[in-house]
Symmetry: C2
């Protein structure tokens, strides 16, 4: 008898996980709140491009979907920074030409759903989960037939996102630790259309950033030559969504802060006025599991802000590592599987949430700071000189499988090391000297224990 | 037309607030989930004594209830520390013989309810609030007639405790910041009965503590000569509620850690086995208000752990300061009243939550630490020598109206100052010397700006 696993949510994580579990031999059903997105044209202004990096690819590979998605992924080798005077500079992400990949969330999700159905997964749409009895996995579902109780779920896995119904049920249990908080910024999508013959009007293979200290605009390339732009902007304050309301406000604001991009967005006024303003939540909670009955995964367990491009990547890593844990145990011993999963992933969920919050400051402010840029340059050189010891936190997060909390844990030591190197004098002049090389060697040895964390193996 | 204010919860804060608002001229109704406690004998094991201090008294005074409650309050002038060898030491709370007061929660609550009804407040019992429509204050209530919608609430004030129904409705709104977390310890009540002729079997006028590093037992006196004891103890671990289960476990545990108290609790085994084990939550949330419609107060806004004895005191201070704000505004301008209330009280709610968590470590561990005791002694001396400048954080919290966050803010400066004084040498030997007095004077001047925070006026 194959166990019946019910997954809540047919988003990226739910769909991928369903494929992996079904292939493993379970009988998987997905309950999805919305209607089948494959029959709809995506609603404007909420598309959001993904930045797929190493952890995301590893999840897709496990499901045998890597090559297919590579066809629709655009490599971005670094940040293209747009200064207010229109000048642009390029900052590579890695020292070995590594890239993160712009992928359409909608396209990826549709492909995953179709693959899931091919693998034998049943996806039920328009099923709104109202409540779940944690002890017996009875699910109250609202659909076209009203509200009914759905039975026979051996295991329930909630991949139902930042406002998870299962997590709401957890929240009512005794001793549940829970935290949700919003940053003061929201976001709004804008679109830079393609040029003639689907040409790209800006550099195609980069993630574009217009850093403006307390806010920023970013743009990611799409296959059709367009760019999806996102304005990350405070809700309230002197220069904010609240203060920019009229056509004139909008025009003046973009002329002041983003003069070079204005001409590229012909639908600026209607985009700004019609597209929704969305908020950005972080969620930390504990436990992620209930006995041997049900568990949280992806955003349901660790909703994060999008600034490290790690939301989907972390969710796919959850799936991949959960499968590894199932592999190592009796596949029906969910007490053990859940325990090991939670122990492995909870510290990572917290860490990636913190990394994502930190990276907002880096993106909107620091990338335009000369000292920061100097530091980035030195980081890269150190990485080349000491590849086995020194890797930047960004590289560990995006181009390795280093646990997120280990990437964070070496950050302070790296800061201290970089501080020393920068105080020694002008790096480029010093680096050819034998003395400085010896000095660097000594420092590297001194810090090796603390900063040598990178894990490249899946 | 008097505005109709509906209060959720007839606990201490809800009952006190109803009196203050009714006297101010509003028409107040309270919806209470439980039945009328005045008709019940209190269920054993959940009584909990209160430690009433200055802020609590000020609230009662405002309602004209101070003298009546003084009749049933037992002053506790300090901590009576019970070492494991049975030896006892006394640590005074204040330098001027100040006391905190042991009061029965049940008795106080009953008196407040009766006074509320006398003032014209209507208290409806057995009314379970299911949900609230924030925009129009329609309240869904479950009572003996089933679930119905209750209308005509101009203003709703939720004093419905750590699991507030109004706060649950807030939690579903966009951009709601929310945090709840539990400490690893729970608590269980035990009782030391009175001796012959209602005599006290231990020192009456003290708060008794058996500090055992990671856990502790405390005892507060009751009017009838008994003491209500509370064991604060980890849920899990080597020595924990989980590990102490059988009669033999219980007996061995008390013989090992609390040998002097065992003989005083004849019902130890049945108390331990029959009384519930309760958990300890901290809640921080924001906002506390919704437009000009409804607001949170007391535990509903800032549930805290009990280790500073400030839960009720902070709630009563909420009430008193809210009334002050109403006084300063048009009494029907709730937009203004709510705004000012939130601005004044939110930082205080966060601060008292942090103070309460800190004080657990002080109570269960530090009070038995020689260095800590030396420091306490010096604190007291400094307070006597420089009464206008130096007051301990404990004194500010318990014996003044200093805003909680100001008490916290001077803690670090006090730590640095005390460090200096303690490193200077043996305080008692140094203090008679003129040189040291001058040195102290200099230090006090140096730190005065940072530590001079105390506010004694109501």
């Amino acid at each position: 008898m194959n166990q019946k696993i019910s997954i809540l949510g047919a988003g990226l994580v739910g769909s991928l996980l369903s494929i992996l579990l079904q292939k493993k031999g379970y009988q998987v059903t997905i309950f999805e709140r919305r209607s089948d997105m494959r029959n709809l044209t995506l609603s404007a202004g909420r598309s959001i491009n993904l930045a797929m990096s190493m952890r995301g690819w590893a999840g897709l590979e496990m499901a045998g979907l890597r090559e297919e998605i590579e066809q629709i992924a655009i490599p971005m080798y670094g940040r293209q920074i747009h200064a207010i005077d229109g000048s642009q500079t390029f900052q590579a992400y890695g020292k070995n030409n590594e890239a993160i990949y712009s992928v359409s969330r909608g396209e990826l999700n549709k492909k995953l759903m179709t693959l899931a159905e091919k693998a034998g997964v049943e996806i039920l749409f328009n099923q709104k989960v109202i409540d779940i009895n944690l002890e017996n996995n009875l699910i109250q579902i609202e659909n076209e037939n009203g509200i009914n109780t759905s039975e026979n779920h051996d295991i329930v896995i909630a991949a139902d996102g930042a406002f998870s119904a299962l997590r709401n049920a957890y929240l009512k249990t005794d001793r549940y630790d829970y935290q949700q908080f919003y940053i003061p910024h929201g976001y709004k999508e804008l679109t830079i259309p393609a040029g003639v013959n689907n040409s790209f009007l800006m550099e195609k293979n980069a993630l574009h950033i217009w850093p403006r200290k307390n806010f920023m605009l970013i743009a990611l390339p799409n296959l059709d030559g367009s760019f999806t732009c996102t304005l990350f902007f405070p809700f309230e304050g002197e220069v904010s969504f609240q203060s920019i309301q009229t056509d004139e406000d909008i025009t003046t604001f973009f002329q002041t802060y983003f003069p070079d991009v204005m001409s590229l967005i012909p639908t600026l006024l209607s985009d700004y006025k019609n597209n929704p303003t969305a908020s950005l939540v972080t969620v930390k909670c504990y436990p992620w599991i209930y006995k041997n009955k049900n568990m949280l995964i992806g955003d349901a367990a660790h909703a994060i802000v999008p600034f490290y491009g790690q939301g989907m990547n972390a969710g796919f890593e959850d799936c991949r590592l959960l499968m590894g844990i199932i592999e190592k145990n009796d596949m029906n011993d969910w007490t053990q599987i859940f325990k090991q999963y939670q122990q492995a992933r909870k510290p990572q969920g917290d860490a990636v949430a913190d990394l994502a919050l930190q990276n907002f400051i880096e993106m909107r402010d620091l990338v335009a700071d000369p000292t920061f840029l100097k530091r980035k340059k030195i980081e890269k050189e150190l990485g080349k000189l000491f590849p086995a010891v020194f890797n930047s936190v960004y590289e560990m997060v995006s181009f390795s499988h280093t646990p997120y909390f280990e990437a964070i844990s070496c950050q302070q030591a790296q800061d201290r090391l970089l501080e020393k190197v920068m105080q020694a004098g002008e790096f480029e002049k010093l680096i050819p000297t034998e003395d400085f090389k010896n000095q660097l060697n000594d420092w590297m040895n001194e810090y090796a224990e603390e900063i040598k964390k990178i894990k490249l193996i899946v």
